[in-house]
């Protein structure tokens, strides 16, 4: 599914200084896994997730998605692959404020979809029903709670029937009760849809939701399968 081979990522801070966010990481994620990556803030978790999705270019090493080197592709090919195979859930509120809930959910289909036009709206409604927001189609993000917004983001991430869900600290802005609800949703999706999930979190208590846990520190994997 996803294969990172000796990946490094350095960010340039100035002319002569840089910081290594990820150092020599090799990681293989198989289909139907629910991998939870834990670590303190600044350990390189988010960067690793971004590398896996092709959202940032590695300084060295390879990022393979279903056997394809992401960075051997053109921007168009890479974007299409990302659109079709990866669903992304962000840490911050990522719904577009000028679009309704329904419009936000169908947004990924604007960039490419296997669905025909007539199916798009129906699928969006089904997904919103699945995340218990079926009655909020016409609402705007500002009219939803943080937990509700995150549910919409999950529905959006599933719109193009991706093979893998990448979630970057999806519950960090939520209260404990809502956090557990979201984690239950992830578990349910993983089991019912057979979707691969890779989730980054700094909350160790959530590790039990996954099938595998990986710990990162200072840009390296220090625990868990590599």
């Amino acid at each position: 599914m996803i294969n990172l081979i000796e990946v490094n990522k350095e960010y340039q801070l100035g002319k002569n200084s840089s910081v290594s966010a990820v150092r020599g990481v090799s990681l293989q994620i198989s289909p139907k896994e629910f991998v939870i990556i834990v670590g303190r803030s600044g350990s390189g978790k988010t960067t690793l997730l971004n590398l896996s999705a092709g959202l940032t270019r590695p300084t060295s090493g390879k990022v393979m998605l279903d056997g394809t080197d992401l960075w051997s592709l053109s921007d168009r090919q890479q974007s299409f692959l990302r659109c079709q195979k990866i669903g992304f859930i962000f840490q911050f509120p990522s719904l577009l404020p000028t679009l309704t809930v329904h419009e936000n959910v169908i947004l990924p289909t604007v960039f490419g979809t296997k669905l025909i036009t007539a199916q798009v709206s129906d699928r969006a409604k089904q997904l919103l029903q699945k995340v218990s927001l079926g009655e909020k189609l016409a609402a705007y993000p500002r009219q939803l709670s943080a937990g509700q917004q995150q549910r919409v983001v999950i529905a959006r991430a599933l719109m193009n029937q991706p093979e893998v869900l990448l979630a970057d600290e999806p519950t960090s802005n939520l209260d404990e009760k809502t956090e557990l609800e979201i984690m239950e949703l992830f578990r349910d999706l993983h089991l019912s849809l057979g979707i691969t999930v890779v989730m980054v979190t700094h909350t160790r208590q959530l590790v039990s939701y996954g099938t595998r846990a990986i710990e990162m520190s200072e840009g390296r994997i220090v625990n868990g399968n590599k």
């Binding site: 960067t47 971004n50 999705a53 959202l55 940032t56 270019r57 921007d75 168009r76 974007s79 299409f80 990302r82 659109c83 079709q84 992304f88 962000f90 911050f92 990522s94 577009l96 404020p97 000028t98 679009l99 419009e103 169908i106 947004l107 990924p108 289909t109 604007v110 960039f111 490419g112 959006r156 193009n160």
Partner: protein, 397 residues
């Protein structure tokens, strides 16, 4: 949902920013269109006036050049005289095909015996005239009879009662000339016979008599033979008659042309500054917007949008705002010029005529394109910068 719908949503999502960009586009388009309408309108007006004259050279008493230009362009009545015999002297000059005299008259100011105050009137000799007579023959089938007149486009009479009072004398309006945008539109044309008849009867019928000095004319219109050198003819006229000034029709209205050129240069400078400032302001607004929406655009990239989509989406927003502002600006410009054209003529001091619908459409298109160009130019750099940004970097705090 598509690129266009997404752009519309983004525009409506920030009305202040969209309003600023649209306003800049409005100013650019309105200014560009107003300038071209006025300048082209003035130039066309001058050309129509010269065509209306129909003469290659117009000979007037020396020192009357400015008066004749004011009369023809702005309808300011002019009265000057020279001996009628000048016609015969000019007619024999080599290279001249035809000559025809004219009398320049004017109605009284605020007098009951004149339907219109200070109206410039031109009397022509139907035997020799080569400007109005051919048009009359075509339009009416014959020339004007005694007491009949032809008016410029602004001269009108009550429906069914075609009588206008001139020095207490009732004249019949037979036809109206096409508009020129000049003072000729407010003028009246009639034959020498009608002029003398008016003058004779005004002694008893008008508050003040119309005086035409005996054996006098105001100007001589000259038509040159094909291939003749107009400068040579003019020089010959001045040699034969030192007390007159021959004015080439191509040199007519030079002072107005210079005035227009000066005004055009000023307007172009102002327009250039407006355009430059607009581009800078729009660029700043788009840069701020792109920065503000950095995370949002990073999210869109993460969802599968290509760099090209992000770039096109920003330019689509720019184009929509440019079109909205530009179209509004153009509408306001056309409406203002149309409604206030008379005020513009008076305040600018030169004539102006609205263009034909086809030309107007072309000018509108140019104004709109300029608005589109300036807004897209301003948005180009921010759009390129943000579309090339690493999505992960864009989404970082």
């Amino acid at each position: 949902m598509n690129l266009f719908q997404l752009a519309l949503k983004n525009i409506s999502g920030n009305s202040f920013r969209s309003g600023v960009v649209s306003l800049c586009a409005l100013l650019v388009a309105a200014f560009a269109l107003t300038t071209t309408l006025l300048m082209r309108g003035a130039e066309n007006s001058l050309r129509l006036a010269i065509d209306r004259l129909g003469a290659d050279i117009i000979v007037v008493p020396a020192g009357s050049e400015a008066k004749i230009e004011s009369a023809l362009l702005m309808g300011v009545p002019a009265r000057f005289w020279m001996p009628q015999d000048n016609v015969n002297k000019i007619a024999v000059i080599p290279g001249i095909e035809a000559v025809s005299p004219q009398l320049y008259l004017a109605t009284l100011t605020g007098a009951d015996c004149c339907s219109v105050s200070d109206m410039f009137m031109i009397a022509y000799d139907p035997q020799t005239d080569f400007t109005i007579q051919p048009w009359l023959n075509q339009k009416l089938g014959n020339g004007l009879r005694l007491g009949e007149v032809v008016g410029g486009s602004y001269i009108f009479a009550t429906e069914g009662v075609q009588n206008i009072k001139v020095f207490g004398y009732l004249v019949t309006l037979k036809a109206n000339l096409e508009p020129t945008g000049t003072g000729l539109d407010q003028s009246m044309f009639f034959t020498f016979n009608t002029a003398y008849d008016i003058a004779q009867k005004s002694a008893t019928q008008a508050e003040e008599a119309l005086v035409i000095p005996p054996d006098s004319i105001s100007a001589v219109l000259v038509k040159a033979a094909p291939g003749s050198d107009l400068y040579v003819i003019s020089a010959q006229i001045m040699r034969e008659l030192p007390e007159v000034t021959p004015i080439l029709s191509s040199n007519m209205f030079q002072s107005y042309r210079q005035q227009m050129t000066g005004l055009l240069k000023t307007i172009l400078v102002i327009m250039g500054i407006t355009l430059g400032l607009s581009v800078v302001l729009i660029g700043l607004v788009f840069s701020m917007a792109a920065n503000e929406r950095r995370k949002e655009l990073g999210v869109i990239r993460a969802l599968g949008a290509t760099r090209r989509f992000v770039f096109q989406s920003l330019l689509m927003e720019a184009s929509l705002l440019a079109f909205l502002g530009g179209a509004t600006g153009i509408g306001l410009a056309v409406l203002s010029v149309y409604l206030f054209r008379k005020l513009l003529i008076v305040s600018l001091g030169f004539p102006f005529i609205l263009p034909s619908p086809a030309v107007l459409l072309l000018q509108i298109s140019i104004g709109l394109l300029l608005a589109l160009f300036s807004v897209n130019l301003a948005a180009l750099f921010p759009a390129i910068k943000i579309s090339r940004q690493d999505p992960a970097v864009a989404m970082r705090e």
